[in-house]
Each structure stands twice: as structure tokens, then as C-alpha cells.
Symmetry: C2
Subunit: 243 residues, 2 copies
Amino acid sequence: MPQLQRITIAFSQFHDEHITLTAEQQHYLCRVLRLQSGDRFIAMDGMGKWWLAKLLGTEAQVLQLISVETELPIAVTLIVALPKGNGFDEVVRYCTELGVTCFSPVVSDRSLLNPSPQKLERWRRIAKEAAEQSERTTVPTILEPISFSSSLSLVANKKYICEARGDYPHLLSCLQKKEDGESNLNDEKTIVIATGPEGGWTETEIEDAIHAGFRPVSLGRRILRAVTAPIVALSLVAAAHEI
Amino acid sequence: MPQLQRITIAFSQFHDEHITLTAEQQHYLCRVLRLQSGDRFIAMDGMGKWWLAKLLGTEAQVLQLISVETELPIAVTLIVALPKGNGFDEVVRYCTELGVTCFSPVVSDRSLLNPSPQKLERWRRIAKEAAEQSERTTVPTILEPISFSSSLSLVANKKYICEARGDYPHLLSCLQKKEDGESNLNDEKTIVIATGPEGGWTETEIEDAIHAGFRPVSLGRRILRAVTAPIVALSLVAAAHEI
């Protein structure tokens, strides 16, 4: 199945066993991918379901539901202090590949920009493309940017805040630590991880996070860029839950 | 110490307790960083040593050797099938931050480009910048691009090849697996990890690697880009050796 081309289809385009294709999708399938009538492709609803479909001119026939298991067994929300420039584009692309469920971009004390609505559209498009490319069945949600203090009220079983300076335990050891003889991993159905801006979180931000139930953790001894930290965090969460 | 600016100085610039600064370094320290005579900064030789130095016009006085521990306790060589476009720039930047020791870019059966000598210069500059930014004491080596088959003769205690398709054990579980009651980690002083091109390794490449002592491993269930795979691999190696 992996060789077939994949495309995201809105729920409203499904009618009985058929999919009505938009002009853009027809262009993509016929002109860009050069599929012809009768060729097969994978239709994804972006919510976890894939169908094998057959192109028939301006529409497609749904052949069968496909079962895929590319999603992480836990829901991971990333709180990311918006990095400078287009850095968040990279965060969205990499972390979507790595299985993130939800992005909550935040404006922290040391954040440099207040993003435009066009940015949000752009991030959502990147997430959709990256989900298709990495063969995920779900497109991650990207929330509207909020203040760091508002993001602290996000609810999860486990909440971590990554900080380069300071003597904190490593995120991986926290994820794998056995408590009462049992691995933490079994209890973690939802995780929230916060990563900071260039220059790190302020002391007040760390204190507020701890007060809100976040555990401060380290991602290693080197100073990571604001773009790199969330990618490393996701790599560790994904690996800890997939081994 | 972390607040001080850092700059890489060639060994030939050290004379007794003084550093002769190049015009470019003077410009960087005085104009870009706006340091003044008497201000302190950190001089790094890119080989693992840092000195506290004081700016004195066109030269600097060496005050003391600084002890830092930002390097991984193992030497990690990454064999990376060159990704399309400028993708390897990203690999160099991220993996340098994450502590890699050596890059061996390779041209595989599915590689798209044969890099120019200018590219190598560019990668080495990126590695130097990223090492400074992440407060590493060593700048990773970037070898000349070679064929994948030549890279297989690289010597290390443990050798892994990452492959998305196929039912291989996870890299993290291999790194952490206890053999004879002892963790693998103690034996791994040198690791080589190979990550593939867009489209993955060919079957022949995987077979040749296994024949050369490489163990095939997975980086998770999703299909990662050629740029993402080495970053994830390094995140896991660094974390496994720093927790």
C-alpha cells in the first residue's frame, strides 16, 4: 500500500461509495501525480481513517477502508514558544512527522513576534502535507496562539516543561521512570510538553509552570535552539512509547 | 559563564597568554557583539578546550581555562545519504547541536546529487556556528562525500542502519537493551548510525550493511524524511547516554 499516492478529502466530499473531487484535487491527481481513470490512490479524512479509492474522471470510487497504525498510542500536545523568523514552520513539519497530536503556539515573555492569521493558515497547510508524507492517519491540530500563562491550564496526565539551564532530570528518564514498580508509560494517555523561546524561559515562567503542575526537565547538556527542542522532545516521547 | 559570547580561535592565534585576533574576529567582537576593551568572552579552539579571555584592542588576554561538559560520553558518526536540495545543511545544524562527532555524507543508489566542494565548505561553516551556539567544545568533523559501500568500512563498537520499511527493532531499545545483565551503553564508546535517502535504502544496500556488521533498526512507525531521520537518531543516542 505505501507506494500509492495519498490525498486528504473533506468529509463533505464523501457520498455513498463515491468522492466528489474539487478542481484542485483533480488537478493534483491528474496533472501533478499523472493518475488516469482507473488508477488507485488513498483518500484520507485527516481524522485517522484511510480508504483505498479509484479515480473515475472528476470523482472517485471508494473501494475499501484501510487499516493503518502510524499514530502514537498517546496524545501529545506541544506548547511551543514561537521562535524567531519562520522557525515554527520547521517545528510543525518535523513534529507532525514524529506523531504530535496538537500544537499550542504561545507568546512568551521573550517571544519576538505576534503571528498574523496568515501564519496559522500556513502552519495548518504544512501540518497537512507532513501528515500525508509521513503516512500518518491524523492531521495534528494547531491552536490559535495564546499567552504562555493561558497555555498552562491545558489538561493532561503528565506535564513537562523543558529548560536548558538548571539541574533538572532528563525528559527520557522521566518518561521511562518506574513508579511503584510500574512504568509511567502505562498511565500516560495524554502528555503536554512545553519548550521555550530563544534565550530560554524566564524564572517566573518556570515557577508558574511548576505551580500549574508542570515538571521541569532537561533535553541534554547542550543548548538547543528554540526550533530544535520540540523536535528532540517529540523524538523521545515517540520512541519511549513505541519500543 | 553561559552569558558570555563565544568565538572559535585557531591554535596559531595563541601566543603565550595572548590571542591575536583576525580583522574578521575584531569586527565580530567589537561591531557585531559590541564588546569593548576589557570585556570578557570565551575563546574556543574547536577541539574541546575553552578559555576565558579579555578583549584588549586588536588582541585578547587569556585569563583561564574553563571546564565544560557539553560533549557526549561516546563518539557518534552519522552516515547520511545526501538528501535533496539543501537538506544536509539542516542535518548538520541540528545534529551538531545534538552532539554528533563526525558526519560521513554518502552518495547512495537513490541519492539525487553529487555535491560540489563549495558545499563541503558550507557544511563545515554551519557545523562551526552550531557548535558555538549550542555551547559545545568540539566542532564535528565532516568527511568528504564517499559512496555508501565505502562508508560501510567505518569502524565502531556498534553499527546501526535505520530503515523505515520492515519489521526491525527500535533504535532506542537496541541502545538500552541489557545483554548479559549489563547495559549495552557501557560498551559503546563509538557508534556509527546510517540513515537513508528519500525513498529509503535499496534492498541491496541493507544487505551489504548487514554483511558489514550493521544492525537494521527502526525509528518508529511513521515515514520520516531523509532530513528528519538523522536528527531523531541523534536525539535518541544523546538521551540514552545522558540519562
